[in-house]
């Protein structure tokens, strides 16, 4: 299953695990922005080195990362090939119709491959070491400045946490509905457009009505517990900024400056 958010968290007690989710989220974001600026071998090497350090500090075995990349490998290769065949300039080795291969396109293809790997790996570090709920919490902290513009940050965060909480529940219900329909002889895997439509309706109606019932029940339960608004809520887990976060930010900022220094202008 192509799952990028759920069921990937691995409990642990490493440096990366114990960092606060908001700074992990922001560092991830920062790393991706810095990748934008990389444009030669040295900058990519610096960033790869930083990534290797991060992976080692997460304490997660490298196998999990490889397992995460495997389903994407064909896609990456295909995109890199597109890049190689469709870019222009440089010394041309071979060309046919709109396709051409040059030294410049090969180098760029290699860079894009590294780019893909770096972005996928850093986000994998985030989801392997942070629970979805902690990520939602991080989003709330990161978006807090928007409160000044009356953006309902807390409501959004609460909504997101409820949604994340119910994804596995809905997934289970989905499984039940699928099996129920299969036992009645519905074939989901094949058929014409007409067949597909006929198969989709008895799948989606119960899923939607189930979700509506959950919303109704949850509202009643929340009211019974005195829920009035999402702004003045207390939290079971409070993630505080720690020295670890400061040190990590220091390292990332240094690498960022180094990349700006090393890039070709």
């Amino acid at each position: 299953m192509s799952n990028f958010l759920f069921g990937r968290y691995l409990p642990g007690n490493s440096w990366v695990h114990r960092m606060s989710p908001q700074s992990k989220l922001m560092l991830c974001f920062f790393f991706v922005i810095v990748i934008f600026f990389a444009n030669n071998v040295w900058t990519y090497a610096t960033l790869s080195l930083l990534l290797i350090v991060v992976v080692l500090m997460s304490g997660v075995s490298i196998g999990y990362f490889l397992k995460g990349i495997r389903p994407l490998i064909w896609l990456i290769i295909f995109t890199v090939l597109l890049q190689i065949l469709f870019s222009s300039g440089g010394h041309v080795y071979w060309h046919f119709g709109p396709f051409s291969v040059s030294d410049l396109s090969l180098i760029n293809g290699g860079f894009i491959f590294v780019r893909f790997l770096l972005i996928i790996m850093i986000s994998t570090v985030l989801t392997l070491t942070t629970t979805p709920l902690a990520i939602a919490d991080g989003v709330q902290t990161v978006l807090k400045p928007l409160k000044k513009f009356h953006f309902p940050v807390d409501t959004l965060a609460l909504m997101l946490s409820i949604a994340l909480r119910f994804v596995p529940t809905l997934m289970d219900e989905m499984e039940t509905i699928l099996n129920a329909q299969r036992s009645r002889g519905v074939d989901f895997g094949s058929g014409s457009l007409r067949h597909r439509i006929q198969a989709a309706v008895p799948l989606l109606v119960p899923l939607f009505t189930g979700a509506i019932n959950h919303a109704e029940n949850l509202s009643t339960a929340m009211e019974a517990r005195g829920f009035t608004d999402s702004e003045h809520r207390s939290k079971y887990r409070v993630y505080k900024w720690q020295t670890k976060d400061t040190i990590s930010w220091g390292v990332f900022l240094l690498v960022g400056i180094l990349v700006l220094f090393l890039r070709n202008n």
Partner: protein
């Protein structure tokens, strides 16, 4: 808004977000492969949300889908197209928000002028789905004609016909599918929704 209504709305939105997240991560209920094409049925979910909860909430749900597409384009792209195109937040988010807006406006208008609820939902769904396709196409064209800075420096000019072809050929069956299936789902679900709301 009374607290009870507010809480219910919050939870309804949360459930629709959960459904969107589910649909983007499980291919079986989010995407339907037909021959070589893979059409998405997520616009249909956005239209159902719009019909049940109103235009603003539909736009919010569309925005959530757009944001998910945007993040995924970096960390877990579904196709080379996504990796190249949807890394631009304007292309990934705005068309999705507009699905809710267009479908919502169309539905409110049609509900007043058409007798049949099914027809109004169907037309709004087709319009919503087409809005998505046309805006994605239009924005790709605009951005890559102007040579905006890109994450992957691919020569888009050569690729443009291919990109437009892929999105276009997906868009038409998508609109047809939305037009047929959305009323079939929205009407029974709306019945249950109205029952719990009163």
């Amino acid at each position: 808004m009374p607290v009870k209504k507010k809480t219910l709305r919050l939870n309804m939105l949360a459930m629709f977000i959960a459904i969107i997240l589910l649909q983007t991560s499980i291919p079986l209920i989010g995407y339907i492969p037909i021959g070589p094409l893979e059409i998405t049925i997520i616009p249909m979910t956005v239209v159902v949300a719009t019909v049940l909860l109103g235009t603003v909430d539909g736009a919010i749900i569309g925005g959530v889908w757009g944001f998910t597409t945007f993040v995924r384009a970096f960390v877990w792209p579904t196709s080379p197209l996504a990796a190249i195109v949807f890394v631009n937040p304007l292309i990934s988010v705005i068309p999705r928000i507009m699905i809710g807006v267009v479908a919502g406006v169309a539905y409110t208008y049609l509900r007043k002028h058409l007798k049949s609820q099914a027809a109004s939902i169907s037309i709004s769904a087709v319009l919503g789905s087409l809005t998505n396709t046309i805006l994605v196409l239009g924005l790709i064209y605009l951005f890559y004609k102007a040579k905006a800075p890109q994450l992957y420096q691919i020569n888009i000019k050569e690729l443009l016909p291919y990109l437009l072809g892929v999105v276009g050929t997906n868009g038409v069956p998508e609109a047809i599918f939305s037009g047929i299936v959305t009323p079939l789902i929205a009407i029974p679900v709306k019945k249950i929704f109205d029952r719990t709301n009163h």
